[in-house]
Symmetry: C2
Subunit: 406 residues, 2 copies
Amino acid sequence: MSHSEIPGGITAPHGFVAGSAYCGVKAANKDAPDIALIFSQHKTVAAGTFTTNKVKAAPVRVSRTHLATADVRAIVANSGNANACTGVPGLRDAKRMCRATAKTLGLREKQVLVCSTGRIGVALPIEKMEATIGKMENCLGRNGSIAVARAVMTSDTFPKEFAVEFSAGGKTVRVGGVAKGAGMIDPNMATMLCFITTDAAIGKSTLQKAVSVAVEQSFNRITIDGDMSTNDTVLVLANGAAGNKPLKYGTKEFKAFQVALDHVMTELAWMIVKDGEGVSKFVEVRVAGAASLADARRAAEAIANSTLVKCAWFGEDPNWGRIMDALGYCGAKMREELVDIFYDGVIAVKGGMQSKTPLEKIGPIVKQKRFTICVDLNLGRAEYVVYTTDFTTDYVKLNMGDGIGG
Amino acid sequence: MSHSEIPGGITAPHGFVAGSAYCGVKAANKDAPDIALIFSQHKTVAAGTFTTNKVKAAPVRVSRTHLATADVRAIVANSGNANACTGVPGLRDAKRMCRATAKTLGLREKQVLVCSTGRIGVALPIEKMEATIGKMENCLGRNGSIAVARAVMTSDTFPKEFAVEFSAGGKTVRVGGVAKGAGMIDPNMATMLCFITTDAAIGKSTLQKAVSVAVEQSFNRITIDGDMSTNDTVLVLANGAAGNKPLKYGTKEFKAFQVALDHVMTELAWMIVKDGEGVSKFVEVRVAGAASLADARRAAEAIANSTLVKCAWFGEDPNWGRIMDALGYCGAKMREELVDIFYDGVIAVKGGMQSKTPLEKIGPIVKQKRFTICVDLNLGRAEYVVYTTDFTTDYVKLNMGDGIGG
């Protein structure tokens, strides 16, 4: 029941077409398309997760409602403007994006999900966007995934797409996705935009369960700067074009689907971390031996979000003292004299103190582009892992701001 | 009952002498003294607050115990080495610092409080320190405050001292202090080293009450990077040399003392913020109209600790969108459509949306070295204020690390 990587992103699964267009929301540069469209040629079931931020962008509010529709067919997304903190006019504009898309594709407004990313607090240039969307039918194609991945980029430096296929009862099932990330990535939710398509036949509630599990294992495990966006959204459409027997929760076919979905989301999440603003290192932070899962998570996230720890990584300085410090203030149960800390499996701290390992053996580990920090609290059996980055001068430069937005 | 600023720092109050010496813990440079000593020529009562970090440096553990002593007479402090994460040998070394000081000054070990600041996880060069402390009696003087302020500096760029005097029942009472700060400043406690002396006559429990109030209004209101150190300590010695009638809780003389103590600690706290690593701006973040004090605090601290908000300030970009974002994820009760945000009293956000104030009016405000952000949640009556800074490329450079320590 193993799956394999395939090209094609969100248009790898059968029955999906996608494309993008230039409207001028993001940049004056016509080489930077900023509206993306995904369309399923077959009836779908849809699932999703949204930001837990109390300040929710207008498209988040609209998509949450539309997700209840029986047959969602399309996703429309723009970059350059988040349509957040825009009040009632913002909600109206998000709905107008759905309506324009529905008109172009011959759908009802509620069959369209909508996402926005970019500056906060500025009204969308909605008339211009409606005009652009009105002409987008012809841009849709079976190779459109990369166009979507590019159109949703903001400070991202590369487009993010990934797809896999596996066999279920003699049928080939595909799962593909695109994502955008960079700044404001924190694990309090699916903190970015991610669109997943699959040609699996699956029921709506079964799909939602699988999506919640996959998000928890992937996007909720990544953190760059500890901030959480107002627009974070994961949307999943399943259209049944693979012709498989509908996946039932708990069967081995369902499990294969879950593994495939986890894999696609994890790859996209890791791409987001690697493309974090100004990032130079990819660090896995694993906390074991915690008294509870909540404690393991608290400790791992405190380490991964400590600016002092992250600055030290940027400086390629092992600096386990700052990790001990974060463990001490994070609120997790811990006893200083029980803590062991490993760098790529090499022990640096034993019982809360410098181990016998000479620092010269730890130095080369943190000089790598990728390494793992493992903390053993030696108190219990709970474990948690997060994926994060260092904190760089480039991050600060990139986030000095260029307007009022996010 | 007003007080006035006077020179002299911790040696402004009568009956205190202080000084410093070079031992080589901090630097090879003999112009950088690294051991400080404060001595009261009269019987004292002592009070203090310590880090709430579960990882507590050895000197914190020792001073907490010694603080219970009836007649504390001296404080010994070193910079360059935090004596944290040093286990049982670290505790023994902290006690040896007290014992060496006691021997030099003719005291008992328990009459000495001890502090350390600097690198984590490295053993103190205790023999060398004992030898240095053994010769420190002659360095003590009535003008020694500035020497102490310099000797405790780590990445601080200027020494921090402040003193005031006021009249109580015809007697002049003085309160003076020195502090060190820079990195790892977060308001979960008196997050730095601060030594306060006063010649007020006051009972031990009354002094402790006054100290707790003053710390809450000053050091607990400042944040630079959201990290909290393993060594943070505020120590206060009162020796009664002013000859005033012992201050009774609730009297107007006690209130004058409280105001004076608040003022000294607040000035020192602000100096710490202004001297935060790589800092270019001093920002007051005030949250009003919160449903509870806890919510007001949560919101103010979330804004003050958001790396995205702080990077925007560094870039002199008003970026109220990132403030809205932080309000949304901080956990405080809030309704997006009720939020107003003011920059130095000028409204930028009204009801969760861009106000009618043109952005050109907000721009010059964030270009200043110092400004105030006031958020009104318009939900209740609770208010909280914190003092913080921007987040700069220099901060990252300064914290890239140079060893294993803090």
